[in-house]
Subunit: 366 residues, 2 copies
DNA sequence: TTGTAAGCGTTATCAC
DNA sequence: GTGATAACGCTTACAA
């Protein structure tokens, strides 16, 4: 009678590494070194002899070993997790690119991004009351969020770097990357005035319809538009606003048709609004740019091929830059308190992309 | 001389909880219970007396205590991290919605999503060779990825649930949510044929230009189109393809202009292509739908307000559903091997959205 | 229902 | 440059 014990049966399975996940102990044994050496070989490769490192890596490879991020996180006191605060869903043109830009830097550095999107006042209040991220993230990135002073004070209490993207003020932030919405609209108005336009409309969403939206950008753009128009004698700004609900294309059409006197040029708060507007206006016989000039904001996916004149911003680059600043702050936090990547705050340029939706003013009565 | 010790100096700071992060020990002390009770109060609230729980929660609140996710993860053996494999950037219409749908389920459940987007063959090979997620994720979600048999075998070796979204085959997956691209194009063709069209073009990207793209969806759609046309006697399918490079609007325009005989209807592989096409074709005098019918795919953000007739899919819902299946698999894994949410594989319906870019065929010579 | 105590798999502090 | 060992902050048998 042949007796085979369970451990004998399973021995080969364990050897093959397909069932059990090898720990650092096993790798140390396999490589004939101590666990500390294995740890160093992964975390601080230059502290071990190249030859030793090779042996460790070979053993790790053989056993299909990977460092446990949880254990490393626990011991090192970091969580390797970054909180990203959004005031809208991640599916928007802007937010998805911010995420991708952040991830392009954070992911290779071993950090995960935990997204908190607060789309209404309740979610927002709960977040700042509970502060669920406390002690569980190494930094907070706040994007396009019209954060209030006591909210940013609450974040500060977590003692981790707070980095802002397109935020109203640098106050309460350790670093930031924000475009100048106000100045950007000024560029648009300058262009239209240079073309001879003097009745210029601005169309955005009604600011009051949800309090947590990226209200800052919206109001800064409108304000920039107003200030720019008012800096030119004879130019009449016509601020119009839309309900968030309903078909944006129709809303813009109605808005423009019912404006009196009729504007000869329109700045739209973003391309997401400008594109349906361009479409519908042409469909209803308005020639663009001959009868009406149009300027968008963002330079999104469709703007180039539709020939939309618009203000260009690059949220992917902004996200990447913000992530770099964040990592610099995280590492400086522990060692050299002042070695963070300078400058801490940056303002990327917004560029007017001249395409086919603006043209010189022509007097319709002439 | 007054001597004040450091600990005296800092005492009040620690009390206020603003500098040091309280651990579970401190909460236990504050609440007058053991650490296990504190742990249970958070993780398994129904295992402690309501009264005790209250005391614990009050103490935790007072000390600003939050569970350390790293420590909980280490001890429990889970990582509370999900890998999401993408074959394109997360910024696409489809992927950003998949992410948002997954996150809507994973985030509340305490899981983070770690995105791995493989946009070229190198990245893809490295990922499957290294398998950096091994031992560090609780599940893998694969989205719109034309995964190969030996790749899915490698994933299987990790012993965590593998869930697919819009994948070519359920083989190697524990659960999945995929639309039927083939059947969807059949619906589009049925519609056009019913309108009297018989020279119908399909425009997609050249499949060969990057091997890692979501080739499966692309080829399945084309195949569905071909099969559908061929099922109707007298209907001529005209498969055309585009370079990925250059302005899509111009590419589509050229493609259609140079096709001979001229098609009376066109199916486009997605709305991202259909929208610039619609725009440019109208700009160049082609009346749509009178001269040419157009059908897109996706029903994206702009399709409704542009009046684009298109095939509707809902990636957000697919992501949410996939996440639910994933969580079911994770918890069944440890306990009841068969209690996973049934059915494990689902095929959401794709719906034709009839709008304003298709019309009955009119003989141009009549 | 609650407490005691033994780890989970790393990293860090020492020696050597 | 490398090795022994003590944490890190939780969870979970098991005991009470």
């Amino acid at each position: 009678m042949v007796v085979i014990s369970l451990s004998q049966l399973f021995h080969c399975h364990f050897q093959e590494g397909s069932v059990t996940q090898a720990s650092i102990q096993a790798v140390a044994r396999e490589a004939g070194v101590s666990v500390s050496t294995v740890s160093r070989a992964f975390a601080k490769p230059d502290l071990v002899l190249p030859e030793t490192r090779e042996r460790v890596m070979a053993a790790a490879e053989k056993l299909n070993y990977r460092i446990s991020r949880s254990a490393a996180a626990l011991k090192s006191g970091q969580s390797f997790r970054i909180a990203l605060l959004l005031s809208e869903s991640i599916v928007t043109w802007f937010n998805s690119r911010i995420y991708a830009g952040l991830d392009s830097v954070f992911h290779p550095a071993g950090y995960d991004i935990s997204v908190f999107s607060m789309t209404n006042a309740d979610e927002r209040r709960n977040f700042f009351t509970d502060l669920p991220v406390r002690r569980n993230v190494d930094a907070v990135v706040v994007s396009s969020f019209n954060i209030e002073p006591d909210e940013s004070r609450k974040l500060k209490s977590m003692n981790v770097p707070i980095v802002g993207i397109n935020i109203p003020s640098n106050n309460g932030f350790d670093a930031g990357v924000s475009i100048d919405d106000h100045a950007a609209e000024h560029i648009a108005v300058d262009h239209l005035v240079a073309l001879g336009h003097h009745r210029i409309a601005y169309i955005g969403y009604d600011e009051m319809d949800d309090r947590s939206a990226l209200r800052y950008s919206a109001s800064a753009r409108l304000q920039g538009f107003m200030d720019a128009c008012n800096s030119y004698p004879g130019v009449t700004p016509m601020p119009l606003s839309l309900d968030h609900a309903g078909d944006p294309a129709n809303a813009v059409l109605n808005c423009i048709i019912s404006a009196s006197p009729a504007p000869s040029a329109v700045c739209l708060c973003d391309d997401e609004l400008a594109i349906p507007a361009l479409f519908r206006l042409r469909q209803y016989g308005r020639r663009i740019p001959q009868d009406l000039s149009l300027i968008g904001f963002d330079d999104n996916l469709y703007a180039p091929s539709l020939g939309l004149t618009t203000l260009h911003q690059d949220p992917y680059a902004m996200g990447a830059k913000a992530a770099q600043k964040t990592l610099a702050l995280i590492s400086s936090d522990s060692k050299h308190p002042s070695a963070a990547a300078e400058p801490r705050f940056e303002t990327p340029q917004v560029q007017l992309m001249l395409r086919e939706t603006t043209a010189p003013y022509v007097d319709p009565d002439a």
